[in-house]
């Protein structure tokens, strides 16, 4: 056997010319996910469904805010929720208590939702025309940033105890989001948080991001967020 590359040609025999060649690819690594997301987006557009992808670190209050948001919208709008967590159906259970349909996706060891999971979920959910779909992503300010789920907007939720420098520390997520909700403003008297700095930091990363302060606990500012959603309805 050839000692150079193990090709089977006797070392004493003439070694064949180098067979290697270059194949041009030029393919996006996320092409498969993006293609599926685009398919989902077209489905939403045809049925006039508004899909929002809610992202945050764990504990920022996504589920509590959703519960409050659903209460404000469910009389007039059909709402469905997809919950992404590594384990348990606790969040979906909380959403179902509001009376709306929720589907839990457990990602196991996965740190984010991908478009194929949403595609499968949509086959199990019956979304009526003109519904609002909230996708609560896995609590993680890094990985979900780069995965398009076919949503109309990514909405990032930041809570005041996390600090106003979060947009600087996790810029990819704030770059990907169209709206930043600053939750837990009821805690402002107790935490070291500067609202103006927070919004400046987010706009330094993404000049186009909108910001809304609110409290899922007291309800302060929630109506402004609900109006934002209504303005985005197709």
């Amino acid at each position: 056997m050839c000692m150079t590359c193990g090709c089977g040609v006797d070392q004493d025999a003439e070694h064949p010319a180098d067979q290697s060649r270059t194949v041009k690819v030029e393919e996006d690594l996320l092409a498969a996910n993006n293609k599926q997301a685009e398919h989902i987006r077209q489905h939403f557009a045809a049925k006039k469904i508004l899909a929002l992808n809610l992202v945050s670190s764990p504990g920022a209050g996504k589920t509590s805010l959703l519960v409050k948001t659903i209460a404000a919208l469910k009389a007039e709008h059909s709402i469905v929720v997809i919950e992404g967590d590594q384990q348990t159906s606790r969040d979906a259970d909380r959403i179902r208590e509001t009376g709306v349909n929720a589907l839990q996706i457990n990602t196991g060891k996965g740190c984010h939702l991908e478009a194929h999971s949403i595609h499968h979920a949509l086959h199990d959910l019956e979304l009526k025309e003109r519904s609002i779909l909230f996708i609560e992503n896995v609590g993680n300010l890094v990985c979900p940033a780069m995965f398009d789920l076919g949503e109309a907007h990514k909405v990032v939720i930041l809570s005041t105890p996390e600090g106003c420098d979060k947009p600087l520390k996790y810029p990819h997520m704030f770059d990907a989001a169209d709206l930043m909700l600053i939750n837990k403003v009821d805690l402002l008297p107790y935490v070291d948080f500067n609202m103006e700095d927070c919004i400046d930091n987010a706009k330094r990363v993404n000049p186009k991001i909108d910001a809304l302060p609110l409290s899922a606990k007291t309800g302060e500012g929630v109506s402004i967020w609900v109006d934002w959603i209504k303005r985005k309805l197709p």
């Binding site: 060649r21 690819v25 030029e26 690594l29 996320l30 990819h172 330094r204 990363v205």
Partner: protein, 113 residues
């Protein structure tokens, strides 16, 4: 650790391309990673070494080429190179640059037998 998902995507693209071009072995995979993309090159290499087992790319090396970020400054209207989201315009010091490119992750080419 989204790099593992990306490495799985990468192997799928490599296997498809290798099959389409009648390759018997993949020697090298060249990936272009934008400076503004959310990808850690070293983590991706470790994940690639794990997912390449028992594939046509079992002995392939992963070469990562970094591409610069490009942004337009709304203040001085110049197109500038940037390495991250937080740096000011190198020409006039203004923040809030509009990003034009640098988020991409693209398989450029394969070296195959």
């Amino acid at each position: 650790m989204h790099e593992l998902s990306l490495a799985v995507n990468l192997i799928e693209i490599v296997e498809d391309q290798a099959a389409a071009h009648g390759a018997t072995r993949v020697r090298e995979v060249v990936l272009v990673v934008g400076r503004l993309s959310c990808v850690e090159g070293d983590a991706l290499k470790i994940c690639f070494e794990s997912v390449r087992k028992n594939t046509i790319a079992e002995s392939a090396t992963l070469k990562i080429e970094y591409s610069p970020g490009r942004a337009q400054c709304p203040e001085c209207v110049k197109e500038v190179a940037i390495d991250d989201y937080l740096s000011p315009c190198p020409e006039c010091g203004h923040y809030q640059l509009e990003i034009l490119s640098g988020r991409e992750i693209r398989v450029r080419e394969l070296e195959v037998d």
